[in-house]
Structure formats: C-alpha cells, structure tokens
Symmetry: C2
Subunit: 103 residues, 2 copies
DNA sequence: CGGGTAGATCGACTTCCGTCAATAGCCTGC
DNA sequence: GCAGGCTATTGACGGAAGTCGATCTACCCG
C-alpha cells in the first residue's frame, strides 16, 4: 500500500468513525435524502447536519444534487471500496497463523 | 444494525483511523512482533508505540503474548469482521440506484 | 544486583465537535 | 416583480477529547 493511499484511507476512516456520520451513511444506503430529512431522522440541528455532510463531501463519500430549494445527498459509488479492501486484508490476515520475528 | 453494535463499530473505526495504528496493523498482518520491533519499524518513541498499542488492545483489535522479557502482539481473529461487513454493505449500496424521498 | 524492556501516569499541546450568529439561494403570495 | 419565508451553507467561538513527550515503576534476565 502506497503512502498516499494510506493517508487517503485514514481520511476516509476518520470521517466514517463518527456516530452521526455513520448513521447518515446508513440512511443514504437505503434512499437519497435531503438535509431536512436527515436533520429530522438524526434529531440534530440544521447546522450540525450540514457540518457533518460537509465532512462527508470533503472526503468524497457523498455527492449532492440541488433540487429547487432542497439539496439531495447520495452515496458516491465506489468511494468506500479502498477502505473495504484494506479492512478485508487485515481481517483475513487476523485469521491466519503468523510467524514470530525473533528479538 | 443495533445501537450498541454501531457504537462498537465506531470505536473500532476510530482506533483504526490513525496513520500510526493503521501501520501497526499492517505490520502485524505479516508477522507477530513485539514492541521493540514496532518502535523501530515505525520510527517513533517507545512510549508512543505503547500508547497506540494500548488503544488497539482496549478496542480488542490485537492480543498479546508475553515471551520472557518481551511481549508479542498479533491481530485478534475476527475483530475486524464487523467493520468490514458494515463498510461492505455501504459500498454495495453506493453502486445501486436509489429512490429519492419526496420533501 | 545492575541492565534493558514494557507499561502507567502526568502535563502541555493540538485537533475535533457542537452551538450561535450571519449569509446566500430559491420558492411562493401579493 | 418584489418582499418575505424557508432551506442550506459558512464562519467563529468555547469546550471536550485525543496526541505526544518526559518521567517513574514493574518485570525479567544474565
């Protein structure tokens, strides 16, 4: 894994590692929603929802589509593939029996 | 996904979302190592390596095996399965075409 | 008993999170 | 068309949490 790829992976993981943002992603996995839906479903204020959505946008995890006065959010296809692959490698390695390096 | 499971998932993701800790996990995916190896490979101080290893231990991602004066670390089997599964669901959903909820 | 390794604790520093206030864009009623 | 209301975004501030380094203790070995 190259260094730049690892840094990008850390950015993605850092953004996902938050209860509110993880919940947003879960909701967006079922249907496209606009901010008013999200702030209602999450029980948070409008500005807070917007802040979390901005973090998700900056990380490239979601994309937006303006629709009149509203803005719809949806998951960006393939944005989580690298993270899934990296965790998969580690998860598989955890089940193998590995040698110890001598001290 | 239950609430408690989501909280655990966030804890795991938060711990993984760090350059040093991710590097530790990557190294441990190849072979079991003790702290002296890690602090050498990572280029960090002994206390810092110990701090990050403690975070990994508290999250249940690694387990230890004392070996005389040294302590070997290895990945805990299955500890990342939940995280991989959750990211996999989101990654798959991102590639489907989803309906918009009306405002 | 000394030498070296791992872990714990304390404190300074930075970063992140959530709220408040202000702004910009769009739609509806008059 | 324009005023007014609603939606979404942005910037700034205070507080909480994480990060890192120095120091000290516990442990095992020769």
């Amino acid at each position: 894994m190259s260094t730049v790829a690892a840094e990008k992976l850390v950015v993605v993981l850092k953004v996902v590692a938050d209860p509110v943002r993880l919940r947003i992603l879960t909701l967006l996995a079922a249907e496209q929603l606009c901010v008013c839906h999200l702030q209602d479903a999450l029980g948070v204020g409008q500005t807070l929802a917007s802040h979390h959505l901005r973090a998700l946008r900056n990380a490239g995890l979601v994309e937006t589509e303006p629709c009149g006065r509203f803005v719809y959010y949806r998951l960006r296809p393939g944005a989580l593939d690298a993270a899934r692959g990296a965790l998969g490698l580690l998860a598989d390695a955890s089940k193998a029996s590995l040698p110890k390096r001598a001290c």
